[in-house]
């Protein structure tokens, strides 16, 4: 330790940036510095999308008679299915890192002793996590959208309206699973447990429950079903045929809104009451 020196602030010139709440900026810093998370999120979103279209384009080039063009509406729908599934996994990884990262590192108590309200600490995780996650998803979707037009060849290319609708849906799915992961991780305080629960639900349990007709209207509450109802036609035609129960858009929106409100509410409540 050095000899004592006066506590003189040292100012440094800073590059211009749009003003952001400092807590949100801190959340983004915590996420973007997780090298493994950045690589995984990039690979599962942008990487997989690019590879899928590259393979489809190569197959078409190699044998156009047997393999159709890589682009077009149908392939956009298929790639949206893959992208939303993997983006959901990434959203779970990012959401749990944002929700339980401070706790598992033991840093939560260090933030609580600053006097900043626990509710504010929790709230900052939402925009912070989305600001980290959504650029990856948006970039991956951009790759898919461009490829679906450029490689459409003889197939009908998706319209601007469909592209916009599909993009909004992908972002909605990612944001939804992020919010659920964040709330659940904050509630449970364990990143690994939450990831296990969510991935199992997204990849298997949700589809199984949706297929059980005995559950009746109870199936409307299954997030995957409600998200499927909001999907663009190009996706819905390929994704949920024969599985999803009939559901109005209003019910789907209500189911998703309630799910987010409940899970985030429980996470916020646990954050404000737990021993730090």
């Amino acid at each position: 330790m050095s000899a004592l020196v006066p506590a003189v602030p040292i100012s440094r010139p800073r590059p211009f940036s749009f003003p952001r709440p400092r807590l949100v900026t801190a959340e983004i810093l915590k996420l973007r510095k997780r090298r493994g998370l950045v690589i995984t999120t990039f690979v599962l979103t942008v990487g997989v999308t690019a590879v899928v279209y590259a393979i489809l384009a190569l197959l078409h080039t190699a044998n156009a008679a047997k393999n159709g063009p890589a682009g077009g509406i149908a392939n956009l729908g298929s790639s949206m299915l893959v992208l939303t599934m993997l983006a959901g996994v990434c959203a779970s990884l990012v959401g749990t890192a944002a929700g339980a990262g401070d706790l598992s590192a033991g840093v939560f108590k260090e933030l609580v002793v600053t006097g900043r309200s626990r509710r504010a600490l929790f709230a900052a995780r939402i925009p912070g996590g989305l600001a980290f996650l959504l650029p990856f998803v948006a970039l991956a979707y951009t790759v898919a959208a461009v490829a679906s037009v450029v490689f459409a060849d003889s197939l009908p290319a998706p319209s601007v309206g469909l592209l916009a609708e599909s993009g909004a849906w992908v972002l909605l799915v990612s944001s939804f699973w992020f919010a659920v992961a964040l709330g659940l991780a904050s509630l449970l305080g364990s990143r690994s447990t939450t990831i296990g629960i969510l991935v199992a639900f997204q990849l298997a349990i949700g589809s199984l429950l949706a297929a059980i007709t005995m559950l009746g209207v109870g199936r409307d509450a299954i997030p995957g079903t409600a998200l499927g109802r909001l999907a663009p036609h190009a996706v819905r035609d390929r994704a949920v045929e024969g599985v999803s129960p009939p559901m109005s858009i209003a019910v789907a929106v209500l189911a998703l809104t309630l799910t987010i409100a409940i899970v985030l509410g429980l996470g916020a409540r646990r954050t404000t009451t737990r021993d730090a």
Partner: protein
């Protein structure tokens, strides 16, 4: 540093229960402003639990807490904005650098906290290592980074729980100087430690806690200082023992005698008696009671009473 509250921490009948177990039992504590205050107790005495209650990390079962004149928990935000703390081991995101960890902590404080990052790093001697990841830091460096983080809020009150853990002797010495420097600036430093010698050297006042209760509280001078006895060593301790039997002399381990002496005239009388008997007096000094001895006296007395 403008400290306007005579006591920076006041607790009244502060109690914490975990089920049937009482971890902190009706503690009344007053920590004077502008001092270094030691909070001592054996392991499991409730030191960290009390600190966690002061900082709002865990709920209070009953009693009242006031920090810097603000009642807790209603005035928590205002109070803790001027408090820096290390509770147990300071924790960090290991994949971030020291500086980035401070940026995260500064984000939860007032905007000016960001401008104090460089000076805080310099103060604890971590400027050159600030841009390395914390996972490469030694335990001592993490302790220093914890202190730097605690200084970001320009605190009136620093609460440090076992801050010298992991420091080598030179680090402890430098840490002590830094603590005194902070007190000289008008800040109050509350130090929880089991290193009694360091607390005695660093602190102005202490409280000793055992089994959740504060058993003694006062200035270091009141609790240590001179005992009512002198230590005597001569060329012939056997003869000296016989000569001073009327004074109540007793032998002590390692040689020499302990002789009760309430005042200087008694000490002079003891010296005269030895010299007139032709004994060479090698040592004649007032016995001091160290904090360690006082601490052990108090805690062992309580153990015997339990």
């Amino acid at each position: 540093m403008d400290t306007t509250h005579p006591y920076v921490v006041e607790t009244e009948n502060l109690t914490k229960r975990f089920g049937d177990r009482v971890a902190v039992d009706g503690v009344d504590l007053r920590i004077p402003a502008g001092s270094a205050f030691g909070y001592l107790g054996p392991n499991g005495a409730g030191k960290t639990t009390l600190i966690r209650m002061l900082l709002g990390l865990t709920s209070v079962s009953s009693g009242a807490v006031s920090i810097l004149g603000h009642s807790m928990p209603s005035g928590r935000a205002q109070a803790l904005a001027r408090v820096g703390a290390i509770v147990e081991e300071p924790r960090f995101h290991h994949y971030l650098t020291g500086r980035e960890n401070l940026r995260i902590a500064a984000a939860a404080r007032e905007p000016e906290a960001h401008t104090r990052i460089d000076s805080a790093l310099e103060r604890v001697g971590l400027t050159k290592r600030a841009d390395e990841r914390v996972k490469a830091y030694s335990l001592g460096m993490r302790q220093r980074l914890g202190v730097a983080r605690a200084l970001l809020g320009d605190p009136e009150l620093l609460i440090l729980d076992e801050p010298m853990n992991g420091l080598d002797p030179a680090g402890i010495e430098e840490f002590r100087l830094m603590m005194r420097g902070l007190v000289d600036e008008g800040r109050t430093v509350v130090l929880s430690s089991h290193l009694l010698d360091e607390v005695e050297k660093t602190c102005d006042a202490i409280a000793i806690v055992d089994q959740g209760k504060v058993v003694v509280q006062g200035s270091i001078d009141e609790l240590t200082g001179d005992a009512s006895s002198v230590l005597v060593a001569t060329g012939d301790d056997d003869r000296a023992h016989a000569l001073l039997a009327g004074y109540g002399a007793e032998r002590i381990d390692g040689g020499g005698l302990r002789v009760p002496s309430e005042d200087d005239s008694t000490t002079a009388s003891i010296n005269r008696r030895l010299v007139e008997a032709g004994l060479d007096v090698h040592r004649l000094e007032p016995e001091r009671i160290s904090l360690e001895r006082r601490f052990l006296e108090i805690t062992s007395r309580l153990e015997a009473a339990a």
